[in-house]
Symmetry: C2
Subunit: 372 residues, 2 copies
């Protein structure tokens, strides 16, 4: 590990919950943080300027998807991913391990890597740890994720262990690859819901020179309780001096739980995807914009919300746009849900700094249960 590439400072700690700061060669961000997902080099329906204004400091993009289209060479020729998508802040690229194993187009897998068919046109491709790190190097992301083998959510113990061991062997090859001077690498801890396996993998992976560590293979179909149990027992043992990233989690209750367990970073498609599907998040639950009651409701979506959508438009207007399949609906709903999620995590940070994180979580859950 090159210690100058990533500086992580824990500024406040409240039990296991941490408020920190991550400094990278091309920018910094405060933690805990939520990273909006821009799989295809765009956070769906949003511009970079809007994301920046929402307070987003780092977005997630996906090496697997960009490898298939438009191809990392095009992105590199156009000046790298930041310039390609016009994003002035930081980018984390997921390696695509999760995608390769979940898109059901897998043809062959061994230690060399994976052979799969493109979900776009059926063409045959191979990805290996070396190739995936080269893709991320070409994209020029700030944080590159190691290539992991993410087992199916209902995998048996042997499959989980095999995937974990392969992830370890691949991780060793990932950290040996060349990378741009501004790029750091995070390892991905697997092990399913088995805390003992998780701890084993954590111990193994943390011997490798990664600048940060992620928990992969969670929020893939297990119950929230199952995930929380793993988090409670594992997160606190992840290296305290490096950022801890829980992949694919964005539900409000899960975010608060995970932050309480010591997680620093999150990404999730839920705020953006659910927005497009007609769900608006509020403190007291979800508004379903397709409900008949919304059609003549002139109130703001969330009267307590300060986002541009709630400050300007009515439920009736959003309902009209949604029913009419207007693009503006997706824009306004996405803006609102990202505002909600980013602000929730920011307020969690403030509560940690003020030493009242448990109280903050309790108050949030009470409000939600009273009205939901």
């Amino acid at each position: 590990m090159n210690p100058t590439r990533l500086q992580f400072t824990v500024q406040h700690q409240d039990r296991q919950a941490r408020a920190g700061q991550v400094e990278l060669p091309r920018g910094s961000f405060e933690t805990p943080i939520f990273m909006p997902v821009g799989t295809l080099a765009t956070v769906k329906a949003m511009t970079p300027a809007e994301l920046d204004q929402l307070g987003a400091r780092i977005v997630l993009s996906n090496a697997y998807h960009l490898f298939l289209r438009p191809g990392q060479d095009v992105v590199q020729r156009c000046g790298g991913l930041h310039r390609f998508m016009g994003w002035p802040n930081l980018i984390l690229t997921d390696s695509g391990g999760y995608q390769v194993f979940s898109l059901r187009s897998l043809m062959r897998i061994d230690d060399d890597g994976v052979e799969f068919r493109s979900h776009l046109d059926g063409s045959l491709h191979t990805l290996s740890p070396e190739r995936v790190m080269a893709v991320q190097a070409a994209l020029g992301s700030d944080i590159a994720m190691a290539f992991d083998h993410c087992p199916p959510s209902r995998a048996d113990p042997r499959q989980v262990r095999d995937a974990m061991d392969r992830t370890t062997r691949w991780a060793q090859r990932c950290v040996e690859q060349p990378r741009p001077p501004h790029q750091v690498r995070f390892g991905i801890i697997q092990g399913g819901l088995d805390v003992e396996l998780r701890m084993q993998h954590l111990e193994t992976l943390t011997r490798l020179p990664f600048e940060g560590f992620a928990l992969g293979g969670l929020s893939v179909g297990e119950t929230p309780q199952q995930m929380h149990q793993v988090l409670e027992q594992v997160a606190r043992h992840m290296p305290a001096d490096r950022p801890r990233y829980l992949m694919g989690v964005g539900r409000a209750e899960d975010l608060l739980q995970a932050i309480g367990a010591g997680i620093d970073m999150f990404d999730c498609v839920m705020p953006t995807r659910n927005a497009r599907n007609g769900q608006l998040f509020t403190e007291t639950g979800r508004i379903v914009i397709s409900n008949a009651s919304m059609r003549e409701d002139c109130r703001p979506p969330d009267p307590d919300c300060e986002c541009a959508t709630c400050q300007t438009y009515s439920r009736a207007y959003l309902s009209h746009l949604y029913r009419s399949r207007e693009i503006l609906y997706s824009r306004l709903a996405t803006l609102h849900n990202l505002h909600f999620t980013i602000q929730l995590v920011r307020r969690a940070r403030e509560a940690i700094i003020h030493g009242n994180y448990d109280e903050f979580c309790r108050a949030f859950l009470v409000r939600r249960n009273e009205t939901g």
Copy 2:
């Protein structure tokens, strides 16, 4: 006519071309002007703030569409159309005559009005001149269009004359309807491609107390030359002291031709619709973003354009977004095409003010033909 509701000043005239100013109770705009189309109370893919920044001062919405969904009562209860869609500037509502007659769901038509089936759910509705003006009064638009009978583009002379005569009888009823204190009404001149009929209808309609007049039933399938002939011979005879509006025209060459013939106002779905369909307008012709050559082209869409899209993004990025069906593509392309069209009309205005409109048009056409 209430002369205080609309003040029109011709500031400069260059042959038939006019640079003017329209003052209405709730705002003003300079002419010639292009009005972006927001049929369903949204200019597709754009926010009001973006439209305002592009220089849009008035948008067009559609009474027929809003009558069917969400219903003018909902809009009125939420504070009127301006507030409903969050648009601080002016709104012109088309009456829906064109839509009723073009959507092929027409059941019955006589002097009372029309009976038709909704294109949304097949439900039966009737619209009359009285009803249409009441819808526009409830919406609270700044300019309400009279309810006209727009004949099919291939109508025979008798059909054209019948539609024209009915439009006259309807226009007489439209001007007798109540309206909000800030609303003005424009009459629609029909008559197809027959200049004599057009002149007859112009003479008849201009006896009614409309604050402005429009040419309807053009750009509906005839050749540009046919339309230009009608414009050249008819536009100059429309009342010089009121705005002249050519409905449904937005192609660059047609705009310049019509401005030269003395038209002041335009609307068209083309800039927005073609954007979504992959066409970007430039001075030298259209960029087709689906072309294979765009995939690796790191240049801006239009290197000479000052819009936010061309200042920030590459053809390769737009090509990637288009192929990936990302919403951001529609946003960026729409922004560009509206910028192009609004700026073209604004530059036409400047040329009129400087007395070199013919030269401006010639230079535009030469550039286009050299490279197109």
